[in-house]
């Protein structure tokens, strides 16, 4: 039995769901960002796997993966800057305690 496209898709979907679980259940803002990184990684596996199996002649999937890695880095930078700002003004980074806008 050889490894095919479906194998990669199964692994990536499991990774995606784990990331989703992390995003939905964590109360630490940094941990939520970690969950998002897992989900982005899962998406990248899909892109590269489709590139390899569906359109092996092109490099589009890899280009998109590189762009997503770039966006993930930007997202982490800005997101963590927000976490730092929240921590400095509210002294907490737990999302269930940040409720200034709630009433």
């Amino acid at each position: 039995m050889t490894v095919g496209l479906t194998h990669y898709l199964v692994t990536s979907s499991l990774l995606f769901c784990l990331g989703l679980f992390g995003v939905l259940t964590r109360r630490n803002a940094v941990a939520i960002l970690m969950g998002i990184e897992l989900m982005l990684n899962a998406g990248n596996i899909n892109l590269i796997a489709f590139n390899r199996y569906v359109a092996p002649g092109a490099v589009s999937g890899q280009i998109f993966a590189l762009v997503i890695i770039t966006l993930a880095a930007c997202e982490a930078a800005v997101g963590l800057a927000l976490v730092m700002a929240a921590y400095r003004s509210l002294e907490t980074i737990h999302v269930d305690e940040i409720n200034l806008m709630k009433w």
Partner: protein, 163 residues
């Protein structure tokens, strides 16, 4: 046979630490568990012959993003973060949603016939990616630098406020 074994090992290297990432009570352990996950994904990229992306994955994810996350943990919660509750009250809901989504995706996967191309495995090179970036995808290439600029400016503005 060897390929399947490698795939199973790499999937385990990805998924087991990923479970620790989303469940560990210790936030630093969660963050450090990201590293094996990212390295396992690197392995999958290699199995898919995307060597350049694999190198970038190690450089950016393992070498830069994890470091950034660790920095923020150490600057905010540090040691105290290991003692407090790390999950909200949404655990059952989140578990249900994630399981349901996984189920949905797996069912879809089992029913879909992908248009898999035949032929020998491709050989990708850095040169190919460079050429693609500088010709067909030149707009993406230039816009990326704008995105980087904007996120740099934005992050500096946010992080430096009230100093």
């Amino acid at each position: 046979m060897g390929e399947l074994a490698a795939f199973v090992i790499l999937s385990a290297v990805i998924l087991v630490p990923a479970v620790i990432v989303v469940t560990s009570r210790n936030i630093v352990r969660s963050a450090l568990s990201l590293v094996p996950t990212f390295l396992g994904v690197t392995g999958l990229y290699v199995m898919l012959h995307a060597e350049f992306v694999a190198g970038i994955q190690v450089l950016i994810y393992a070498g830069a993003i994890t470091v950034l996350i660790l920095f923020v943990i150490m600057l905010t919660e540090g040691g105290s973060g290991t003692m407090v509750r790390q999950v909200t009250g949404q655990v059952p809901l989140g578990a249900m949603a994630a399981t349901w989504l996984a189920f949905l995706i797996l069912v879809t996967l089992s029913r879909t016939q992908w248009p898999v191309a035949a032929g020998p495995p491709p050989q990708y090179s850095v040169q190919g990616i460079g050429t693609a970036f500088l010709t067909n995808y030149v707009l993406i290439f230039e816009v990326t630098s704008l995105v980087l600029l904007i996120s740099l400016v934005g992050a500096i503005v946010i992080a430096r406020r009230e100093e």
